[in-house]
Amino acid sequence: MSDENGFSQTFEITGRDFGKAGTVSTKIKEILQEIGIDQGIIRRAAIAIYEAEMNVVMYANRGTLTLRITPDEVNFTVQDEGQGITDIEMAMQEGYSTATDEMREMGFGAGMGLPNIKKNVDKLGIASIPGKGTILELTFYLNEAK
C-alpha cells in the first residue's frame, strides 16, 4: 500500500450513504496537517476532495479515494463504479447538473462540483466510461506557489 518515498492510503467511499459523507475528507485533512502541508494547499484540497467524495456518494454505488503524498506533490485518485459522465465538457461547466430533486433538496447538485474541483486543484485529470464509472485525478504541487 505504500510507495517508495511517499505515503499512500486508500479509503472506501460508499455510494448513497449521506450519513457518512465527508468523513474521508476530514481524515485526509488531518493527515495533511500532520505532515505539515501548507495551509493554503490544505484549504484548497479540503474543498476539492469533499466535492469529489460527494460526487461518488451521489452518483456511484461505491468508490475509492487514494491519497499519495511525496515531497513534490499531493495526489488523489478518486475511482468509482457508477453511472459515469456522458459529456465531460458539459459537466465542467458551472451550473450544469444531472442531480435529482432529492439531491438538490439536500443542498447538492448546483452544478458546481467539477468546476469547483477544477478551480481548486493544480492539475485535474478525468476519464469516464458511461455506465461503468469515473476516475478523477487531483494533483497539488508542493514546491510552487499557485
Binding site: S2, Q33, G36, I47
Partner: protein, 460 residues
Amino acid sequence: MKQDHYYHSIRIDKDKCDGRMKCMRICPTQAIRIRDGKAHIIEEKCIDCGECITVCPNQAIVPLTDPFGELTKFKHTVALPSPALYAQFGREILPRKILSGLKMLGFDDAFDLAQTCGEVSFAIQEYLREYSGPKPLISNACPVVVRLIQVKYPSLIDLVIPIDPPRELAGRELKKKKSKHLGLKEKEIGAFYLTPCPVKMISIRQPAEKGRSSLDGAISISDIYGPLLSAMEGVEKGSYREALESICILGIGWAMVGGICRTLRLRNSLAVSGLNEIIKVFDDIERGKLRNIDFIEAYSCHQGCVGGSLTVENLYISYNKILKLIETLEFEQIKACPDIREVRRLYKQDHFFIKGKLEPRPLKPLSEDLGEAIKKRKQKEDIYNSLPKIDCGACGSPTCLTFAEDVVMGDADITDCIFNLPRRFKKISQEFAKLIEKSSYLNPSQPPGKKTTQKKEGPK
C-alpha cells in the same frame, strides 16, 4: 512561535490524580496522556475548554482563577460580571440587585457588562453589514472557539470577527474613565471579570491575539456565589419595574447560545454550542458548505456561557431564565440599549476593533522536514495497523491512532500496548521453549550444569 510557552487555565493535582483516564477520553483535542499513572496535559494541544475539569471524579483537575484576596492590591476595584452571573439566581433577582450585592461584597464598583455586550452586538451588526469577504463570519465571544480555530482550523482564522470581546473593551474604557474621575493611575484600578469558565482567565493572562489584556484577573462565579447570595440579603428591595427597565436586552443575550442572533434579529445565522457540535459545523465550513450563512455564534459550553464549568445553577434552568427575561423585555418593549448612533460613531473611529492580529497556532507536524514527516506518517500508519483499534486507553494514549503517533515521536513504546505485551511474551516464551528443548531436562545425555548459562544467553 516555536518556543512559545502556552499558559493554561488548568492544573492537574498530582496527589489527587489516580489516572482513571476519564479526562483523557473526553479531551476533544487529544491533549491528555496518562504517564506513570498520572494525567499529563500536552500544552500545545490544549484549548482550555475545561471538559476535563467537569469529568474528573477526584477533582484533581483544578481551574486556575484568582482568589478573592487579590482585590487588596488595588486602590479601586471594579467587578465586571459575565452576564451568565445574572442567570444564577431566581427569576425575581434582577441584574441591578446582583450588582448592588457585589458592591456590598467589597468591590468599589460593579459594572453592568451587559451594556458593553449590547454595544458590541451593534458593532457586530455594523461589521456584518460592511463585510463582503468569504462567509460565514464566526463570533469570538468564546475563547475556546477562538483557540480551537487557531489549533485545529487555521484555515478559518480570517472568518473570526476582529471585534474586541465586551469584557476587554469594558475594562479598557472603565480604566480610562475612572482614572480621570478618581485621579488614579490606570494600574491602580483593578478590573475583575467574574467568570463562568476557566478559559477566560487564560484569555486575560495570554490573549489569543498576543496583546495585553485590560483586565486584572478573573474570579470564578462559583467562588463568589455563596458570599454574593448572603450579601444580597442586605440589598434594599427596589422597584421590579425599574430594575427591569435597566436591563440591556442585547447584552444579556450574551449569556446564552443564540442570544446575539436573536436579539439582533439576524436572519441568516447559526447558533451552536458544545465542542463536538462546533467541530461538525467547522468541518462543514472547511468543505465549502455554509457559504450562504452570514454569522455563526459558537460556544464551547452547552447552552452558552450559562453552561460554563464555574457556574452554579443547572444550565437549562439558567438558560431558561435568560430566555424568559429576553421574552419579557421583548413583550414589554423595553429597550435599555446603548445608543446605536453613538456606537456607529465609535465604530467608525475603530473603537471596537482588536489591536493584535489573531494568528494560527497549528499543531507541529510530525517533522519540520517534509520527506521525514511523510516517512513518519507512514510509520504511524503501519504501527496503527498492527494495533487492535479498540481505543482501550490502557497504554495511556486516548486512541490507538494517537498511540501510534506517540510511538513514532518517541513518547511511548510499542509494548506499552497491552495487546503487544503478550506478543512480546510469546516471542520470549518461544525462545524459552527452544532453550528448554536444547536443555538437559529433555536431553539427559548433555551434562546438567550447562542449563543455566544457556538460559541466560537465550532471550537476547
